[in-house]
């Protein structure tokens, strides 16, 4: 029972960055933009979130420092989304290459600033965000609910809100319209360019928060290769989720469950001889397998990968 509770708790924790990333990517793709900048945006969110929190801490922000860092990550994510918009929406450049280039630049800038300001004799650390334990004393349920604030925020606020905005509000309708049929949306009076920028900036902010969760809550420090392909996993989860918020979140939970189980098995008797790396690689293979089983004839957004030009 404690084993199961531990795994479940770890699943929600490890799913959190993926949930932010997947919801963010769902927004950009529903507007017609495949944002492969997600890996770099999460990386930059992780790094700049940490850096801002560190400097805020130096300036005496105390317990508020990680939250100030989170604000920094959000701004970086919005800028990254806007940059993607400049390339793919305004200039109409190829989305695959723009996104990959953005990832290269964002990882490069993050590692450069890290090298320039944070590589000293001691490891730069911050006091990470605290766990919140609202159901303590309820045994295993309390264990599962012992999570970071950003995890509660993701599952209780962000996911339902993202679903509601995308499905039930004029903004969501506009995002889906410009992603399905920009010509028709334009005729209906929707500013295609503006809506795509908005979707990219919302998505970028969410991706960056997902990355920042790792440094600001889970680790309290920044290490190289910290995202380790989580952004690519989110791209796969969006397809697996068929561009629906809740299905994507479900995929994130499944991935995180496999990931957490693998980590846990490493310290379980009987599994010591299995190389760590197999456990680490397993979730990626599970995602590919899931895509192979369910990725046929998926309903791509109508204007997926297409730049819109007014003629």
């Amino acid at each position: 029972m404690t084993f199961l509770a531990d795994i479940l708790a770890a699943t929600f924790r490890n799913a959190t960055p993926l949930v932010y990333g997947t919801v963010g990517e769902t927004y950009t793709e529903r507007s017609g933009i495949l944002n492969l900048g997600i890996e770099g945006t999460m990386y930059a969110g992780a790094f700049f979130g940490f850096a801002v929190a560190f400097w805020a801490g130096e300036a005496g922000a105390g317990a508020a420092a990680p939250w100030i860092g989170l604000g920094g990550a959000v701004i970086v994510g919005i800028v990254a989304g806007a940059l993607m918009g400049l390339l793919t929406v305004t200039f109409g450049a190829n989305q695959h290459v723009s996104g990959l280039g953005l990832t290269i630049v964002l990882i490069g800038v993050s590692e450069f600033i890290n090298r320039q300001f944070f590589t000293g004799s001691t490891l730069a650390r911050i006091e990470p965000m605290a766990l919140w334990d609202p159901l303590a004393g309820l045994g295993p349920i309390g264990t599962v609910a012992n999570q970071y604030g950003l995890t509660f925020l993701a599952f209780i606020v962000i996911v339902p809100a993202a679903w509601w905005v995308l499905g039930k509000t004029p903004l969501g309708l506009a995002i889906r319209a410009v992603g399905e049929n920009p010509e028709a949306a334009d005729v209906a009076g929707i500013d295609v360019f503006r809506i795509r920028y908005i979707a990219l900036m919302i998505g970028g902010a969410l991706m960056a928060v997902g990355g920042a969760f790792i440094t600001l809550a889970m680790l309290g420090t920044f290490t190289l290769d910290i995202i380790a392909g989580r952004g690519w996993v989110c791209i796969a989860l969006v397809i697996f989720g068929r561009w629906r918020i809740f299905r994507g979140v479900l995929g994130a939970l499944v991935f995180a469950a496999v990931f957490s189980l693998g980590l846990r098995l490493r310290i379980t008797p009987g599994f010591e001889d299995v190389p760590n790396e197999i456990m680490l690689a397993l979730p990626y293979l599970v995602v590919i397998g899931a895509l192979a089983l369910s990725g046929r004839n998926v309903p791509y957004p109508g204007a997926y990968l297409k730049a819109y030009r007014r003629t």
């Binding site: 200039f91 695959h96 723009s98 630049v105 890290n114 090298r115 320039q116 190389p275 990626y284 895509l291």
Partner: protein, 382 residues
């Protein structure tokens, strides 16, 4: 040429110039800012990054040396992208080639090089193609987006490398997570041994293989029916299918060739540079290959030039770490910025030109399509 036609050409040239100036200013502003943050004089930094490596024989040859993996990776990416197959798994395919080279290299002590080297190259190519096979089959048989599957296999390949280095291949002498040194007969000969003019350089056989591959790829892509089919599939899969081209078969073959070239890149790094498998055998060559391919316009002469340019930049960035205390990571910033600005500028130019061409006055060349086209995802509504 009519007066109107000439005027259109003139404004087009003027616009190209304007966009080019804007692109150059943007690159200088972004990279200059990075150099200033690093505490260096931007002018000194540009000289160190781009000019200095070309001024001495040793660094010039080192430029060719560091360009070698980028030439392989750029060729692998360009061939795939040209067919509209988004192989973003060159990184993982390269690692597979490196693993196989390190594995064979450990076993062949005492064998003659004449047998070992072709064996390693062939096995590495097979390994790279093998790593590319699953995403390619998923794409051509089930219509599953290869972008995601090729990307996801990159971390998996790195885990395989790490599993080997922390497990059976840990260097028995040092205990480091590095494979044992490969046999002497498995090392690529130095170009210095083949060409008497060059004395002091680590430049190796891999560079020559890369050049040969680029020439062959250029010839096939631009001078043969196979190349025409590949380009047709990339430009318009539906049109190609209508013309009787077997699109899926073409894509599958392109994917395997791309993976094979990536695998040879891994062999070249193990047999020519490191002489063993290390966890950092590829500092992202697969991703830099995308930069090379795009800067080179997905054409082989361009790939050659772009590969050499980025080799130059890498040598410059490495030496500027010591001479100007600029962190080597700035090299990646410069590369990425170059890529984004170039594709942004090209897209802007195309969009403006196309708009003009849609007016009836100018019936010149047909509007140039995106070189790589859109990936024809099966089952996707178009």
């Amino acid at each position: 040429m009519t007066l109107e036609g000439r005027r259109a050409t003139e404004t087009r040239v003027g616009r190209a110039g304007l966009i080019a100036v804007g692109a150059i200013v943007t690159v200088l502003a972004v990279t200059g800012a990075a150099f200033v943050i690093a505490g260096a004089n931007p002018l000194d930094a540009y000289v160190a990054y781009f000019v200095a490596p070309l001024t001495r024989e040793f660094t010039l040859l080192e430029t060719l040396n560091l360009a070698t993996p980028l030439l392989f990776a750029g060729t692998a990416v360009a061939i795939a992208f040209r067919a509209g197959y988004w192989n973003i798994g060159v990184e993982g395919q390269l690692l597979m080639g490196a693993i196989v080279a390190a594995g064979i290299g450990q076993l062949v002590h005492g064998w003659p090089s004449v047998i070992v080297l072709p064996l390693m190259v062939a096995a590495g190519a097979l390994a790279g193609a093998g790593w590319a096979l699953v995403p390619a089959l998923l794409r051509t048989r089930l219509g599953i987006d290869e972008v995601v599957t090729t990307l996801l296999l990159n971390p998996v390949a790195l885990f395989v490398v790490q599993a080997l280095l922390h497990g059976p291949w840990t260097d028995p002498e040092t205990g480091f997570p590095e494979s044992p040194r490969i046999a002497e007969s498995a090392e690529f000969p130095r170009v210095a041994e083949l060409v008497p003019l060059i004395e002091r350089s680590r430049l190796h056989l891999g560079f020559l293989i890369a050049i040969v591959l680029i020439v062959i790829s250029w010839w096939i892509l631009s001078r043969t029916a196979t190349g025409l089919r590949v380009r047709a599939v990339g430009l318009s899969p539906h049109g190609a299918r209508f013309a009787g081209i077997k699109v899926e078969r073409t894509l599958l073959r392109v994917a395997l060739v791309s993976g094979a070239i990536a695998g040879i890149a891994g062999v070249s790094e193990v047999a020519g540079v490191q002489f063993r498998l290390t966890a950092t055998i590829s500092p992202g060559f697969g991703y830099t290959g995308i930069v090379v391919a795009m800067l080179g316009g997905l054409a082989m002469p361009g790939v050659l030039l772009a590969g050499l340019l980025l080799g130059d930049l890498t040598v410059g960035a490495n030496s500027a770490v010591r001479s100007l205390q600029i962190p080597s990571q700035v090299g990646a910033v410069v590369q990425g910025t170059l890529l984004l600005v170039v594709i942004g500028a090209l897209a802007l130019y195309r969009a403006r030109t196309r708009r003009e061409e849609e007016r009836p006055a100018d019936e010149g060349e047909p509007p140039p399509d995106e070189p790589a086209g859109l990936p024809p995802v099966e089952g996707a509504p178009r």
